[in-house]
């Protein structure tokens, strides 16, 4: 609880932080907020809300275009991670920066300037102290690769604490934890809080926010929606969640596209009882069932990191799974999330990229039919309005929007029966986004489309049915016509505020 004591000053004050990435994306737009010591401050928002960018600026990884930071009331410059560490800001990232074959103590000792001959002595002592102080039980000589994810996270926390962090930033810390590990983490955070440390907790999960946060700031599309103590929101938990969810996703969505009515046809994709594990062996897709028919767009809506990637990989065959995946006749087209690392070969030209997923069709005799390929490329470029001086341009010289148009041209011209589109407008400008949407709606007439996205506006505009995914399960499936009126509810579903009510 924040006291009204005048001496209780914020540890960190953020004023007017703005960050625009090349390509025009405004990640942070004039953000101001205060962080107080002895509090857990939750930073709440969907994907793309700007939470991680803001914290990356605070921890010195990025530099803001505008705005200032105040530490204990004094203005400071944070030009690098080293600066941030010196100011007592420590960050625990979503992807840990640990060295697997080294021990816990060695990882913590790295760069600390410890004694030459016995580098671990000080570290071991401090680990023991922290263990008692914060209930952080880690075995200092264990190798990182042998530790559980929860334990690894604790090593990251110790790394920050040992460098004198008074402000600890955690980016989606429970994304990789089991419920039990999450509870252990909360206990540790509680102890730190009582020691006067300030904790910034980035999350999209409402349950957690209500459980441990003292103060909440909700971000949406790069701006602060509101910033307030937890005590202010409504009495009951359910109401509190609704209010938060609606702040996160907004009350209304203005739909910009016209959608024709199309009668659905045959099933092009049927998934039953799907279980998929990620690279660490954790099950990230749990008992998922849904189907997609020709003539409809079925959207999987959820914050990134809830199993979507593994789901798509299983469907396209890049990852093993248990359960049933049935794909109808015809090809499956795939528009991947990583345009430049997966969807195209950046150093190859447009023609070479145009045949990436269908080159066998253009080389039936083992020889490439160059005439047909060039023809297809020219047609594709024209049809989908890819802006490029000529066919020989390399893919990496195109803008993001044009790369996506190229990929669309490629996948759609193959007349797939099923099209899987992952975050298709992520990072694109408005023009390109509209083009992508129009292309998808067009294709819908002749195919079934599985749209995986975290963008509520996009999903509501395009899809016929929506499956909301949270922690690897489809929480609910809605008709998009009714979804328009249930936005708050959808927000709750995306953030774990609603229990699984999926009807198979």
């Amino acid at each position: 609880m924040r006291s009204s004591n005048l001496e209780h000053q914020p540890i960190v004050s953020i004023r007017g932080i703005t960050k625009v990435f090349p390509g025009g994306l405004t990640a942070n737009d004039d953000i101001s907020l205060d962080i107080y010591p002895g509090e857990i401050h939750a930073l709440l928002g969907e994907n793309g809300a700007g939470k991680t960018t803001l914290m990356n600026i605070l921890s010195g990884i990025y530099r803001a275009d505008e705005g200032v930071f105040f530490l204990y009331g004094k203005p400071v410059q944070i030009k690098s991670p080293k600066d941030a560490i010196q100011h007592g800001i420590g960050m625990v990232h979503q992807h840990f920066r640990l060295i697997p074959p080294h021990s816990v103590a060695e990882n913590i000792a790295l760069g600390l300037g410890t004694s030459f001959l016995s580098p671990l002595k000080m570290v071991l002592k401090t680990i023991r102290e922290f263990s008692l102080q914060y209930n952080l039980s880690i075995h200092p000589m264990a190798r990182i690769c042998d530790l559980s994810v929860g334990e690894q996270q604790r090593v990251e926390i110790v790394k920050a604490l040992i460098r004198g962090a008074n402000i600890l930033i955690l980016d989606e810390p429970t994304a990789v934890l089991t419920p039990q590990e999450a509870q252990e983490l909360f206990f540790i955070l509680g102890k730190m809080k009582s020691e006067g440390k300030a904790i910034i907790f980035i999350t999209h999960k409402l349950e957690e926010v209500l459980e441990i946060a003292d103060f909440i700031t909700v971000l949406r599309k790069g701006r602060v929606v509101d910033s307030f103590p937890v005590s202010r929101i409504k009495e009951t938990k359910e109401d509190a969640k609704k209010e938060l969810a609606s702040m996160m996703v907004g009350k209304e969505v203005i739909l910009k596209v016209d959608k024709e009515t199309v009668t659905p046809g045959d099933t092009v994709l049927n998934v039953e009882n799907l279980h998929v594990h990620n690279d660490r062996g954790v099950e990230t897709v749990r008992v998922v069932s849904f189907s997609v028919r020709k003539g409809e767009i079925f959207a999987i809506l959820g914050v990134a990191g809830n199993g979507q990637r593994e789901l798509v990989e299983a469907i396209v065959g890049l990852r093993g799974h248990t359960g049933v995946i049935f794909k109808g006749n015809g090809r499956a087209g795939h528009i991947p999330e990583n345009r430049l690392t997966m969807g195209t070969v950046p150093n190859m030209n447009l023609a070479e990229n145009m045949i990436l997923t269908c080159y066998r069709d253009y080389s039936k005799t083992l020889f490439l039919d160059l005439t047909r390929i060039l023809e297809k490329t020219r047609k594709g470029i024209a049809d989908f309005r890819v802006v490029a001086p000529d066919v020989k341009v390399l893919a990496r010289q195109l803008s993001g929007g044009n790369v996506q148009r190229l990929i669309l041209a490629r996948e759609l011209s193959q007349n797939p029966g099923l099209l899987i589109a992952e975050q298709p407008t992520h990072g694109l400008d408005v023009r390109s986004t509209e083009d992508v949407w129009r292309a998808l709606l067009d294709q819908r007439k002749s195919a079934g489309i599985l749209l995986v996205s975290g963008d509520l506006e996009e999903v509501l505009s395009l899809s016929d049915r929506i499956g909301v995914i949270f922690q690897g399960k489809i929480v609910n499936v809605l008709e998009s016509s009714s979804a328009k009126h249930r936005i708050e509810e959808i927000g709750l579903m995306m953030t774990g505020g609603v229990r699984n009510t999926q009807v198979s």
């Binding site: 990583n338 080159y359 490439l368």
Partner: protein
């Protein structure tokens, strides 16, 4: 765009170095190497200008010199274009030397121990030479694709295994009857010796195969499905996975061809030049390693391999000239090759950036 902040210079990433820049820089690298070697000449009391003139006369300046260059460039051409293919798919085949030697071994077996009738000897020599090198290369491909063992290590180690196999054979089971202090096998019978052009050393069947291989690789890379798959894998394994391109199958064909061509080079050396299997350092004058630079310098263009293999063939002959006319050790060739390589790779790196003086208002 990445802007490094230095006090006086501004370094920006250059978009795409134009052809002119690439060629210009390559030639500059070669000339710089020549220039530095000049100092070594001076150190030995030899006038560098005189030396270079002598080299030019004896190499490209007369017919004999030219023929010398051509026959030395044959194995460089074959190994070089094979390596070019391997490098295109980012498979770092350092093992051309070993693949060459195994091709030589296979060819020797055919001539001395196979008992094939005379008229198919020469085709068999090439076929088995190809097979010997191909198998040797495929082993490394297998180790990488199935067991993830780095190909630099495996190909390198297999060079030395091959070298020792040859040593074993010429000192042991294949030791020739007429040993005169050195170890080598019996001489090849007439039917197994490759025909040469006139009195030169140029064993033209191998040369022909070399030129044909260049055309073949060029065709593969520009016009076939395999070439496309090779290039995608070489650029982005992730995209290759996405596109459904099978890694092992592609590497299989690449190393089959790359190793096989080196094997043919080896077969050509023993059947066309030496007419016997002898000490590995005489069968291959480091062709497998020099071919790496030959391939590199060609910058992914098979037809340029003709030029670059010719260039390095000329360097080998220049080394001979230096040895004969000036008593200079042949090893100078390695100094030269090493220097060129240094300058080439440095220039590659520097070509990525445009360095200009920082203006006042930056």
């Amino acid at each position: 765009m990445r802007n490094d902040r230095m006090r006086f210079l501004k370094i920006e990433k250059r978009e795409n170095p134009s052809w002119k820049v690439i060629v210009g820089v390559s030639i500059a690298a070669i000339l710089l190497a020549f220039f530095i070697i000049g100092f070594v000449f001076v150190g030995y009391g030899i006038n560098p200008v005189k030396a270079y003139i002598e080299i030019l006369i004896e190499t490209v300046g007369n017919v004999y010199g030219l023929t010398q260059i051509i026959w030395q460039s044959i194995p460089l051409m074959l190994c070089g274009v094979g390596l070019l293919l391997a490098f295109k798919t980012s498979f770092w085949n350092i093992g051309a030397e070993g693949q060459l030697l195994m091709g030589a071994v296979a060819a020797t077996w055919v001539t001395l121990f196979s008992g094939f009738p005379g008229f198919i000897m020469i085709p068999m020599i090439f076929a088995f030479g190809f097979a010997g090198g191909a198998v040797w290369g495929l082993l490394s491909a297998l180790l990488k694709a199935k067991f993830r063992v780095n190909e630099v290590i495996t190909t390198l180690m297999m060079n030395y295994i091959a070298l020792n196999i040859v040593l074993y054979l010429i000192h042991g089971p294949w030791k020739g009857d007429e040993m005169r202090g050195f170890a080598y096998t019996n001489s090849f019978p007439e039917s197994c010796c490759l025909p040469t052009i006139g009195i030169t050393y140029i064993h033209w069947p191998t040369l022909l195969i070399g030129l044909l291989s260049i055309c073949l690789i060029f065709l593969i890379l520009t016009r076939t499905r395999l070439g496309y798959e090779v290039k995608v894998i070489g650029q982005s394994r992730q995209a290759a996975r996405y596109a459904g391109i099978p890694y092992f199958r592609t590497i299989f064909w690449v190393m089959l061809i790359s190793g096989g061509l080196a094997g043919i080079a080896g077969a050509g050396e023993v059947a066309g030049v030496h007419h016997m299997l002898r000490h590995p350092d005489q069968v291959s004058l480091g062709y497998g390693y020099t071919a790496i630079i030959v391939a590199w310098l060609a910058r992914g263009n098979p037809p340029l391999v003709i030029l670059t293999s010719f260039l390095f063939g000329a360097i080998y002959v220049a080394g001979d000239v230096l040895q004969l006319s000036f008593g200079f050790p042949f090893q100078i060739v390695n100094v030269f090759t090493g220097l060129i390589l240094f300058f080439l790779i440095s220039s590659e790196s520097l070509m990525q950036y445009r360095i200009t003086l920082r203006r006042k208002d930056d």
